[in-house]
C-alpha cells in the first residue's frame, strides 16, 4: 500500500507543478519575448557597427572601448546625476514636508492632495511647453515675453532678467527644477500613504512621554517611514536618471552638450549619427549602471530595516 502511495503522490506533485507552470507560461513567454530576447539582442548589436539598416559588421568590444573615452557620454552621466541629486533633495524634501503637512488634520486636505498631484499626471511634453513659456527669454516692444522674467521686472528686479535656458550656467538647473516640480507629486502621494499607515497610538504614547513634535518626528515618524523613503529614493533615481522628454521639449536638441543626459546621447547616436551599435553599447552600460545602483540601494534599505 505504502509503496503504491508514493508514486501516486509524486504524480500528483508533478501534475500540480505542470499546472502551475501552465499558469505562469504566458507571463514567462511575454517576459522572454519582450525583455530577455531584446536584452540579448541589444548586447549582440552593441558588438556590431550598424546603421540601423543593411549589413552589420562585427567589431567586438570596440564600441565599449570608444565609449570609455567618450567625454560627452560621461559628462551626460554627470548631468543626469545632477538632475537626480536635485530631485533627491529638493523634490523629495518638498514632497515629505507637504506629505507631513497633509497627514495632519488641516482644512481642505483633499484639495491640496489633488493640487499636488496635478504636475505628475501632466505629459512631459506639456510641462516642457508650459515651462518654455515661463522661462522664455525673448522680448517684444522691450517687455519680456516669459512669465518669470516678466515677474522679475514687475517686482523691481530687472537686473535678474536672464536667458534661463540658453545659458550654460543655468540651463541644467532649470531643467532639474522643472523635473523636480513635475515629479514631487509622486513622492508626495507615496509618502502620504506611508504616513497614514503609522499607528496613531505611537504618537499618543510619545505625547504622554512628553516628546515634542520635533522629537516625535525624528524618533517615530522617520524610523517608521524608512522603507517607504527607500522606495521613493530608488524610484526617484531611476526616473531622474532616465529623464529626456522634458529636456527635448525644453531645449530641443540641447544647449551644445550642456544639457545632454545618457538617454539623449543614446537617441542622438541612433537618429543623428546613425551609430546603432554604439547606441546599443551606451544602452547596455547605462542599464548596468542603473541595475547596480538599484541593487546597492535595495541592499542599503534591507540593512536599514534590520537596524
Amino acid at each position: 500500500m505504502f509503496s503504491k502511495a508514493v508514486p501516486r503522490h509524486n504524480q500528483a506533485i508533478s501534475f500540480d507543478a505542470f499546472k502551475n507552470f501552465l499558469f505562469v507560461l504566458p507571463a514567462v513567454g511575454i517576459f522572454s519575448i519582450f525583455y530577455i530576447y531584446p536584452f540579448f539582442d541589444l548586447f549582440n548589436l552593441s558588438l556590431h557597427q550598424w546603421q540601423g539598416i543593411g549589413p552589420k559588421t562585427f567589431v567586438g568590444l570596440q564600441n565599449f572601448q570608444e565609449l570609455w573615452g567618450d567625454k560627452v557620454w560621461w559628462s551626460s552621466m554627470g548631468h543626469a546625476g545632477y538632475i537626480t541629486l536635485i530631485a533627491l533633495t529638493f523634490q523629495n524634501a518638498l514632497a515629505f514636508a507637504l506629505a507631513v503637512a497633509c497627514d495632519r488634520e488641516i482644512r481642505m486636505k483633499r484639495f491640496y492632495t489633488l493640487i499636488f498631484f496635478i504636475p505628475p499626471v501632466l505629459s512631459e511634453v506639456i510641462v516642457g511647453i508650459l515651462w518654455n513659456w515661463i522661462l522664455n527669454a525673448g522680448t517684444q516692444n522691450g517687455q519680456p515675453i516669459g512669465l518669470f522674467n516678466h515677474l522679475l521686472v514687475q517686482v523691481g528686479l530687472p537686473n535678474l532678467v536672464h536667458n534661463w535656458l540658453s545659458d550654460p550656467a543655468s540651463a541644467l538647473t532649470c531643467i532639474a527644477v522643472v523635473h523636480a516640480w513635475k515629479g514631487f507629486g509622486w513622492g508626495f502621494i507615496m509618502l502620504l500613504a506611508g504616513l497614514q499607515t503609522i499607528d496613531r497610538q505611537l504618537y499618543e504614547v510619545a505625547k504622554v512621554d512628553g516628546a515634542g513634535s520635533w522629537t516625535t518626528f525624528w524618533n517615530v515618524t522617520v524610523p517608521m517611514m524608512v522603507p517607504v523613503i527607500m522606495v521613493v529614493v530608488i524610484l526617484t533615481i531611476l526616473g531622474s536618471m532616465q529623464v529626456f522628454v522634458l529636456i527635448l521639449s525644453l531645449v530641443n536638441q540641447g544647449l551644445v552638450y550642456h544639457t545632454e543626459v545618457p538617454v539623449t546621447r543614446i537617441l542622438s547616436s541612433m537618429s543623428v549619427t546613425n551609430q546603432f551599435g554604439y547606441a546599443c553599447a551606451q544602452a547596455v552600460v547605462f542599464g548596468i549602471i542603473l541595475v547596480v545602483v538599484s541593487f546597492a540601494l535595495k541592499s542599503l534599505s534591507n540593512r536599514m530595516k534590520q537596524a
Binding site: 539598416i53 517684444q140 522691450g142 536638441q253 540641447g254 543623428v272
Partner: protein, 430 residues
C-alpha cells in the same frame, strides 16, 4: 482539471498563432505610410477621389512626429513589414541602405517612359533629390528611387512693416548691408533675427549656405573628402559669420535652444524682423497672423565670387516598396497624385510648393517667391558626398558654442578638424 489545462494550452497557441499572422490585405488596396500631419486631410480627400475613379483604396497611416516616423520605418524594414508606399526622411546614406537592402523599387523606367512624360512634370531639383547619379559614393545602382510629392526651399524671410519702422528701404543683399540693418533695427528696439538653431539641421543649413558662398561647392566637397581642413581660412570665415552676428546682437534671446516651431511663432507674431525658414512656414504664418506682410530672399552674401545657394528640392518624397506585390498599383497612384489637378489641390489645401511645375502656376505670390529659388537650390541629398554625421554633429554643436560666446571660431575649427581626422581614420571612403 487536466481538460482545463489542455484547453488553456490550445487557447494560448491559437492566440499566439493569430497574433503572429500578418493582416490580410484586400486585393484592391494599397497602403501608404507618412509623417505629414498638415497634409493628412488633403491626402485623405485625394485617396477617396482615387478610389472613386479607379476602385483602388489607398489606406493612409500617419505616424508623427517625423522622428518617430523614421524609427517606425527602420523597425518595419527590419521586420519586413513595410507598406506599399512610404517615405524615407533620413539622410541619403540611409536612403542608400534601404535601396541596397532591396526595399526600394527603381522607378527610372516609369519616370522615363513615353519620352520622360512623368519625369518632365517635376522641378529638376526635386527629381535630383531622389536620384542616385552614376558613380555615386553610396554604391547604389544609378537611377531614380523616389517620387517628390512637394518641394521646399529654405531662405531668409523678412517682415516689411518692421523693416519700414527701422527705416530700412531695401532688403539687405550683402552681409555688410545686413549688419547695417541689424544696427538700425536694434536702434528702434526691434529684435533683428530669429530661427530655430535649437535644431541642428538649421544650423547646418545656415552654415552650408555661407560655406558655398565663401568657398564654393568644390572646396566644400574637398573638405568632406578630407583634402581641406576645417581650420582653413574659408571655414574660419564661416564660423566667424555666427560670431559676428552674435556679437552684434542680431539673434533673438535663446536662439540656440529655440525649436523651429517656436521661431516660426516668433516671426508670425512680429517679434523679429528676419527669420530663416522653409517654405512650409507659409502655412503657419497664414494661420497665426493672416495680415503678416513679409517677403523672401536668399541669405545676404558675404562674398561676390560664389552665388548664395539655398537648400531646396524635394520637401516630401515617397518611395515604392520593391517587395510589394502591388508595385504597379503603387506607381500608378503616385503618377496620379503628382498630376497637375491633384498637385494644385494639395498646394491650395496645405500651402506647400507643388513638385509639379505646371501646378505651381496658380500658387500664392509668397510661395511663388519661394519657388523662384528652386533653380539655384542645393541640398545634401544632391551633393556627390556628405560629411560624416559625427563630424556634422561636432560642427553644429561648435557653432552653438560660438553663438553663446563659449568658444571662438578658431577653437571650434580645431575641435571639428580633430574629430574629422579621427573619423577619417575609422572609415575608409570608397
Amino acid at each position: 482539471m487536466k481538460r482545463l489545462g489542455a484547453w488553456l494550452c490550445c487557447a494560448l497557441l491559437v492566440v499566439i498563432t493569430c497574433g503572429c499572422a500578418q493582416p490580410k490585405k484586400a486585393v484592391n488596396e494599397i497602403e501608404l505610410w507618412h509623417w505629414m500631419t498638415d497634409r493628412q486631410d488633403a491626402l485623405e480627400a485625394l485617396a477617396r477621389k482615387y478610389e472613386q475613379e479607379t476602385g483602388i483604396r489607398v489606406k493612409l497611416s500617419l505616424f508623427a512626429p517625423s522622428d518617430s516616423y523614421i524609427q517606425k520605418i527602420i523597425a518595419a524594414a527590419q521586420a519586413n513589414v513595410l507598406p506599399d508606399i512610404y517615405g524615407i526622411l533620413d539622410k541619403k546614406t540611409i536612403f542608400a541602405s534601404f535601396i541596397k537592402a532591396g526595399l526600394v523599387a527603381d522607378l527610372t523606367s516609369a519616370f522615363e517612359a513615353d519620352g520622360n512624360a512623368w519625369g518632365k512634370r517635376f522641378f529638376v531639383k526635386a527629381v535630383d533629390n531622389n536620384r542616385f547619379a552614376v558613380g555615386n559614393m553610396d554604391g547604389v545602382k544609378p537611377g531614380i528611387y523616389g517620387v517628390p510629392l512637394d518641394v521646399s526651399t529654405v531662405q531668409m524671410i523678412y517682415n516689411r512693416n518692421l523693416l519700414k519702422k527701422a527705416g530700412i528701404a531695401t532688403v539687405p543683399a550683402t552681409f555688410e548691408e545686413f549688419l547695417a540693418a541689424v544696427k538700425a533695427l536694434k536702434r528702434v528696439g526691434i529684435v533683428p533675427f530669429v530661427t530655430g538653431f535649437g535644431e541642428t539641421w538649421i544650423v547646418d543649413c545656415f552654415a552650408s549656405n555661407y560655406a558655398f558662398n565663401i568657398m564654393g561647392e568644390a572646396k566644400v566637397m574637398a573638405t568632406f573628402r578630407g583634402e581641406v581642413p576645417y581650420t582653413d581660412p574659408d571655414w574660419m570665415a564661416v564660423f566667424t559669420v555666427f560670431q559676428t552676428l552674435a556679437k552684434k546682437g542680431a539673434f533673438i534671446e535663446g536662439i540656440v535652444t529655440k525649436g523651429n516651431k517656436y521661431a516660426e511663432q516668433d516671426f508670425a507674431l512680429e517679434r523679429a524682423a528676419f527669420s530663416f525658414d522653409g517654405s512650409w512656414g507659409v502655412n503657419i504664418y497664414k494661420s497665426m497672423n493672416p495680415v503678416l506682410d513679409y517677403g523672401v530672399a536668399p541669405l545676404p552674401a558675404l562674398k561676390a565670387a560664389n552665388p548664395m545657394r539655398v537648400w531646396g528640392g524635394a520637401g516630401s518624397s515617397l518611395v515604392v516598396n520593391a517587395l510589394s506585390p502591388n508595385k504597379d498599383k503603387a506607381v500608378a497612384f503616385l503618377q496620379w497624385i503628382t498630376d497637375t489637378p491633384q498637385q494644385a489641390y494639395l498646394s491650395e489645401q496645405t500651402n506647400n510648393l507643388p513638385s509639379n511645375r505646371e501646378a505651381s502656376v496658380g500658387i500664392s505670390p509668397i510661395l511663388g517667391d519661394f519657388a523662384k529659388a528652386m533653380e539655384q537650390s542645393t541640398h545634401p541629398r544632391v551633393w556627390i558626398l556628405n560629411e560624416d554625421p559625427i563630424v556634422v554633429e561636432a560642427f553644429d554643436k561648435g557653432i552653438q558654442s560660438i553663438i553663446i560666446g563659449e568658444k571662438t571660431p578658431a577653437q571650434v575649427a580645431v575641435e571639428v578638424q580633430k574629430i574629422k581626422l579621427r573619423q577619417m581614420g575609422k572609415v575608409k571612403r570608397p
